[in-house]
């Protein structure tokens, strides 16, 4: 009786309302977000075979009592033996770094200008930044194809004005990828920067000016350091997803544009080599885990 009561209490503690509420989203994310990474890790250790699913099982029960574990690092060794993959990782990081810096410069100028605009204008200006962010990513990337093509609208416009007499080759180059990334990710940069710049204590800037600091110097030594949390949040929001970006390099980049997201897509959909695709994902995750944790920490701080 006594033990039964104890057990009952224990169950009651576990299944109280509070824990039940927490468990609903918790279990969902465990099953459909965290558990999938275990699966990816598992499959990255398997061998590709021609079957459905196209990889070998990790455990097999032969005649023996104990399962035979068939795990191998073949996929990982393959990634490091073929320079294509290492180049793709490095090139993704390079493209993500350059485009994050470009987005930061453009985004800062816009966010700063909105934050310093007359108060009644700020809402509508911010709304104008968010609006394209709500429209389809794919469509916004597609819109640039018609502009950047060799026989596209940009070349047509420049040649009509007479600035150039030969069309510029932008489409299918890295430049087109940079334009596409800056364009698509700009709102992600502007929003956290604006949130930060808008709250900034203007009296600090006035104090600097009163003490004889020139506006440019005030900007570099007061405004920029104060807006660092916004800069960090914006850069993470751009850098991390861009490393694995697929749509932009696929549609705007050329054959020479090497990005790991495109490689993973190709391994999975065209080569049907699931173990290698999984290994590509695991290595990408390892590269991004530090920035992701830093981003999570900065967001948690911002929510407090």
């Amino acid at each position: 009786m006594d033990t039964k009561d104890k057990k009952h209490n224990f169950l009651k503690r576990i299944f109280n309302g509070r824990n039940a509420v927490i468990s609903i989203p918790y279990l969902w994310l465990l099953l459909l977000f965290l558990f999938p990474f275990v699966i990816v890790l598992k499959i990255s250790l398997a061998q590709p075979i021609i079957a459905m699913p196209p990889y070998t099982p990790l455990f097999s029960w032969g005649d023996s009592l104990w399962p035979k574990i068939q795990a191998g690092l073949d996929s990982y060794l393959f990634l490091f033996s073929d320079s294509l993959y290492i180049k793709a990782y490095l090139s993704s990081i390079k493209i993500a770094t350059i485009s994050t810096i470009l987005t930061l410069i453009v985004g800062y100028a816009i966010a700063y200008s909105i934050a310093r605009a007359p108060k009644r204008w700020r809402g509508i200006l911010l709304m104008l930044v968010i609006l394209p962010f709500w429209t389809s990513f794919l469509i916004r990337v597609y819109a640039w194809i018609g502009i950047l093509k060799t026989e596209g609208l940009l070349n047509l416009a420049l040649m009509t004005i007479g600035i150039i007499d030969k069309p510029l080759i932008i489409m299918n180059t890295d430049l087109a990828v940079y334009i596409g990334i800056v364009y698509s990710y700009l709102p992600f940069m502007i929003l956290p920067l604006y949130a930060n710049l808008e709250k900034m204590d203007m009296s600090l800037l006035e104090a600097a000016a009163d003490l004889g600091c020139r506006p440019i110097k005030t900007f570099w030594s007061v405004t920029i350091p104060l807006s660092m949390p916004g800069i960090m949040a914006g850069c993470f929001l751009v850098f991390i997803p861009v490393v694995g970006e697929f749509v932009i390099p696929d549609l705007l980049g050329g054959t020479k544009t090497l990005m790991i997201g495109k490689v993973l897509w190709g391994e999975f959909f065209y080569n049907r080599d699931w173990p290698v695709a999984s290994a590509v994902a695991i290595i990408m995750l390892l590269l991004l885990v530090v920035p992701i944790i830093l981003y999570q920490k900065s967001q948690e701080k911002a929510m407090k």
């Binding site: 509420v21 100028a109 709304m127 990513f137 469509i139 916004r140 819109a143 700009l186 981003y295």
Partner: protein
Amino acid sequence: MKKYGNFNIFALIVGFSFLYIPIILLILFSFNESRLVTVWGGFSTKWYGELMNNQGIKDAAWVTFKVAFVSSTVATFLGTIAGLVMSRFGKFGGRTLFSGMIYAPMVMPEVILGLSILLTFITLSIDRGVLTVTLAHITFSMCYVSVIIQSRMSSYDESINEAALDLGCTPLRTFLLITFPIILPAIISGWLLSFTMSLDDLVIASFTSGPGSTTLPMKIYSMVRLGVTPEINAVSTILVGLVALGVVTASIIGKRQKQQTI
């Protein structure tokens, strides 16, 4: 107050031109008579007519709409709970992991999310189709909803809840009668964001969909790979129009709510 500098005006003009000119050109050329994208052949709505005859696009649009409606509704439910848990439940076992699972999907490259969730479905032998796309969309959308709810709750006046509880209201009733109506605008914007994100998604849908569950972005993507056509411009214009309508409606609802509370 210092005067508004020329630099700021210049930055805004250039910035907004950059953001809007591509979309405006896209819409403009959906009304082009000519099939060529760079030659203006006169005003015409014939590409919209052609679209209406394209059964593939209509089927894909219907699948996309169903997925978006169901996934955004479930995601709003789960995300609202997650947001409240994060902002109101204080410490609990595994809180750091929970917060990680909420913030990570928002920045995680889509190819990783798509691949990992697909391999899970295959391991659990769930057939790829509308259901799997919907489950995948719920998973990433609920994180955005949860963040919207968290940021709403950070300015929530807790004393009204305490007053209700002091007067003998049960926690559930307090939530339904007090908290819920107050955070409803945030819940609605969470739903709208989930809906448009599901409508937009190409990468995760490509991984998780099966035969018969081709979504509109997947259909558009396969058309884009074959080249720029006014038909794609027309379908894009319809989508942009719908989203703009939704956003404007949402902001009007939001404004009215604000006025009512004042």
